[in-house]
């Protein structure tokens, strides 16, 4: 891209931004950066320009890059939810491709800025994540790369199990607070007493004694529940209560939990966010003066973005269709809608802005996927019957409910900590809140050792297999499975 091309692009961006603002899109200041393919794919694999190192990112990067090299898929852009908002454009995009992408990106940014799910995300995450990366690198230097990697392997296995609603750390265990207070007291005392620097060794006995007393006190009042309420935030619970983790390990858990909290709203609004961006790139591009060739190229790219797919749902397409349908139904409501819901008509635009502010995929689908839309899009429910994948249902309510189920908790199984002192033995008892979909048992067996590694004591998971409740256990050596 030479200086001339950049000039042209800048001119186009100015025009598009003006149109977008005219439509009422409200976005952060933008930073567009043109990057070569391997950089875009690196960012795509990590989800961020700078993130900590882990082989799993390398694996994803390799897979994505290979698909690009073979011409199977292409990422045209990447937007970061930040203020200012970073947008990375693929080097080699044509001007018209970039026009579409810029319009698309502006709508994403508007969504990030205004959707309520994003209201608590850290808009300086680019800097935070790069600080995290640096900190983890330091830990690698200090404690060994293998050691840190082995720990991160375990943390990543449970990283989705956070509670995005609670951003303040959970305080449940009094004993924990007491320990913390004592530690703080000690820390205050120490500087005065320190003469040789090794005095704290004499305190170890006392500390052990008091710990032992505490733990016996805890088991004595074993009827008191711990945690008092089932705790969804497995990451936080382990970070705070696992007995054997070291400071650097707890630090890594805190940082990775923050990263997941940052990504979580994006998992929850995939369909809406992509639909919103597709809706707006179409509307904005219609306002531009395009040449004949540009129009054709635009149409090609646009259709490749919103093309329906057969075995999975294209979120771009589904989201776009729902937004258009909402607009239509609020612009020119039927007589029934006018009478029953008091819709006046002509409120379509206003309504979709309201939806983009207050909904997530879950409520978006539940509230706005209509019978008519299901039929128009020819949606169906399919499942595996014997060897075959078959269409088993075309009832619109079932389709809608199935879609909603698949979006619950970002599509991850909902797991809570039932008991952090199971069998009065410090064992961890987890419960899968079963709602009709079974867990992948092979993966359960492989994940349990990771949780054991973090918790340091035997781990149990209650779930349901073939409608019967089952308890999976792992004690550090062996797996057990029994029906309850």
């Amino acid at each position: 891209m030479n200086a001339d091309d950049i000039k042209q692009l800048e001119y186009a961006i100015a025009e598009i931004s003006e149109i977008a603002s005219g439509f009422g899109l409200d976005y952060y200041p933008m930073r567009y950066e043109i990057c070569p393919a391997d950089i875009i794919y690196t960012f795509g694999a990590y989800g961020m320009p700078t993130r900590f190192s882990h082989w799993s990112f390398g694996k994803t990067f390799h897979k994505m890059k290979m698909q690009y090299d073979f011409g199977l898929s292409k990422i045209y852009e990447l937007v970061i939810n930040s203020d200012p908002c970073y947008a990375f454009l693929l080097e080699g995009n044509s001007l018209i491709q970039n026009k579409l992408i810029v319009a698309h990106v502006l709508a994403h940014c508007d969504f990030f800025k205004n959707n309520v799910r994003f209201s608590k995300t850290n808009r300086n995450m680019v800097e935070s994540m790069s600080a995290t990366a640096e900190r983890i690198r330091q830990y690698e230097i200090e404690f060994g790369q293998m050691e840190v990697e082995r720990f991160i392997d375990a943390v990543l296995a449970i990283q989705e199990h956070i509670d995005p609603l609670i951003t303040k750390p959970y305080r449940g265990s009094k004993a924990h607070d007491r320990r913390r207070e004592e530690a703080e007291e000690r820390a205050e005392r120490e500087p005065r007493e320190r003469r040789f620097g090794y005095e704290d060794l004499w305190d170890l006995d006392k500390e052990e004694d008091s710990k032992r007393k505490e733990s016996s006190a805890e088991s004595g009042s074993g009827r008191r529940k711990f945690p008092p309420e089932p705790e969804k935030d497995l990451m936080l619970f382990i970070e705070e209560h696992a007995p054997y983790l070291t400071d650097w390990q707890r630090d890594i858990m805190t940082m990775l939990r923050d990263e997941m909290l940052y990504f979580w709203p994006q998992l929850e609004t995939k369909i809406m966010n992509e639909g919103w961006a597709s809706y707006w790139h179409q509307r904005i591009l219609r306002e531009l003066d395009l040449t004949e060739e540009e129009t054709i190229e635009y149409a090609k790219l646009n259709s490749s973005v919103v093309v329906p797919s057969r075995h999975s749902l294209n979120p771009y397409y589904l989201g776009l269709k729902i937004f258009e349908d909402i607009e239509k139904r609020w612009d020119s409501p039927s007589r029934e809608e006018r009478e029953r819901y008091g819709r006046r008509g002509g409120e379509g635009r206003q309504k979709i802005f309201e939806v983009r502010e207050f909904d997530s995929d879950l409520s978006f689908i539940r509230n706005y996927l209509t019978k008519q839309l299901c039929e128009e899009l020819d949606l169906y429910v399919f499942e595996k019957k014997g060897q075959e994948w078959k269409i088993t249902d075309k009832g619109w309510e079932n389709i809608r409910d199935q879609l909603v189920y698949s979006r619950v908790n970002g599509g991850f199984p909902y797991i809570v900590v039932e008991n952090g002192n199971f069998a009065d033995n410090g064992e961890l008892y987890l419960k899968h809140m079963y709602e009709g979909i079974e867990l992948d048992l092979k993966y359960v067996e492989r994940t349990m050792p990771y949780i054991y590694q973090l918790w340091g004591r035997p781990v149990h998971l209650e779930s349901v297999v073939e409608t019967k409740p089952v308890l999976f256990s792992y004690d550090g050596k062996k797996h057990h499975r029994k029906f309850l």
Partner: protein, 386 residues
């Protein structure tokens, strides 16, 4: 409406290697995983039967990113049709055969689900395996008239022909000289800066090896025993090929009498009847004397059997093995003995104490790898140190 602020920039990303670095780490882990799986891979059918395929797929189970997830096969999904989809339409068929469908298999795990499959070059796999092996009892054979010449560019000189100029080193020299003279940069390349790549001719004498594959094909040798023997010969031949220019293989099948057969016959034809092992040894000795002079060939006879032999024949066997060992670099005896019986042959061979005689009893597939390591031990840990 105020003009929204934006910037367009294009930085130099050429030093950003993060993706590649973590990719390298991932590949390292894949390599490690393969190494750990070598005993299983050595007898993996897809590899043994992959004749000539350059890339093999190796399932690696430890490199999935495990987490709690739903069982995809047991849940419902939403899809989209072209406008005419009907209930009952088949969208696709799962190619993995369902083992024991209808029998209510356990608690519903699917074997052979999706695990990470790494593509590995056959060559890489070989080099990993052969890293652990070494040839024992190497002997200098009669110098051959036949030699091979190889040209290797392995030297840098100040003089040479222009077509072989080494540009990078020349520029480096220039930079170095200019810096010394206090005017850094690339300019004024003088003849003194020029560097040339130069080659050497490497002459290597041609070396020959002969593998004599002896196998019991009597009724008692089943498909398992043959498969083990086949896997072993597959790797052994490949291993010897990395050490010798030419490797020839002779296949000798025997029951009560022995004959030379083709490779295909060797591995597929089963015969019945009793077993007289000495017949095979006799034939091997004859073949060596007739066709393969030990002065020109490194000879490796290997005998695979299930250990059943006519008891009265054992003494003769021991004597003939002595004859064979005089002519060979080593003699290997592999007994495939799934059920750990005590065999007649082994009881006779226990008394052979010659460093050239190596034996191994294979009880299960995974042990082929151990057998290879026993027959071709690394010198450091080898027991054939002189």
């Amino acid at each position: 409406m105020t003009e929204p602020s934006f910037t367009v920039s294009r930085e130099d990303w050429s030093l950003h290697r993060k993706g590649y670095q973590d990719q390298t780490r991932h590949q390292e882990k894949v390599r490690d995983a393969i190494k750990q799986n070598l005993p299983d891979l050595v007898t993996d059918e897809s590899i043994i039967l992959s004749d000539g395929k350059q890339i093999v797929k190796v399932p690696i189970r430890s490199l999935d990113e495990y987490r709690f997830r739903y069982n995809y096969n047991k849940s419902k999904h939403v899809g989209q049709g072209d406008g005419d989809s009907q209930v009952g339409d088949v969208l696709g068929v799962d190619p993995t055969p369902q083992s024991g469908a209808g029998k209510g298999e356990g608690a519903g795990d699917q074997p052979g689900d999706d695990y990470y499959e790494a593509e590995v070059q056959m060559e890489e796999l070989q080099s990993m395996l052969f890293e652990e092996l070494e040839l024992p009892n190497l002997q200098q054979k009669e110098k051959q008239n036949v030699t091979t010449k190889e040209i290797v560019f392995n030297d840098i000189r100040k003089k040479g022909i222009m077509s072989n100029i080494d540009k990078k080193r020349t520029i480096l020299e220039n930079l170095r000289r200019n810096a010394r003279e206090g005017q850094p940069g690339i300019h004024g390349i003088s003849p003194d800066d020029l560097r040339f790549k130069t080659w050497e001719e490497i002459v290597t004498p041609q070396s020959n090896a002969l593998v004599m594959a002896l196998m019991d094909t009597s009724g008692s040798m089943g498909s398992f025993e043959k498969y083990i023997a086949r896997s072993f010969f597959f790797w052994m031949t490949r291993f010897l090929r990395t050490k010798y220019e030419n490797v020839e293989i002779v296949f000798i099948a025997h029951h009560t009498e022995a004959r030379e057969v083709t490779e295909e016959e060797f591995f597929t034809k089963g015969e019945s009847g009793g077993t007289i092992c000495s017949s095979a040894y006799q034939l091997a000795v004859e073949l060596i004397d007739k066709r393969y002079s030990p002065s020109r060939y490194n000879i490796y006879p290997f005998h695979f059997s299930d250990g059943d032999n006519l008891t009265s024949d054992n003494e003769r066997c021991v004597k003939l093995i002595g004859e064979l060992m005089k002519r060979s670099n080593m003699f290997g005896y592999g007994e495939v003995n799934q059920y750990n019986r005590s065999s007649t042959l082994m009881s006779a061979y226990r008394n052979i104490h010659d460093p050239k005689f190596v034996h191994y009893i294979i009880r299960e597939k995974g042990e082929v790898y151990k057998a290879l390591k026993t027959f071709f031990p690394k010198q450091a840990e080898g027991r054939i140190a002189r």
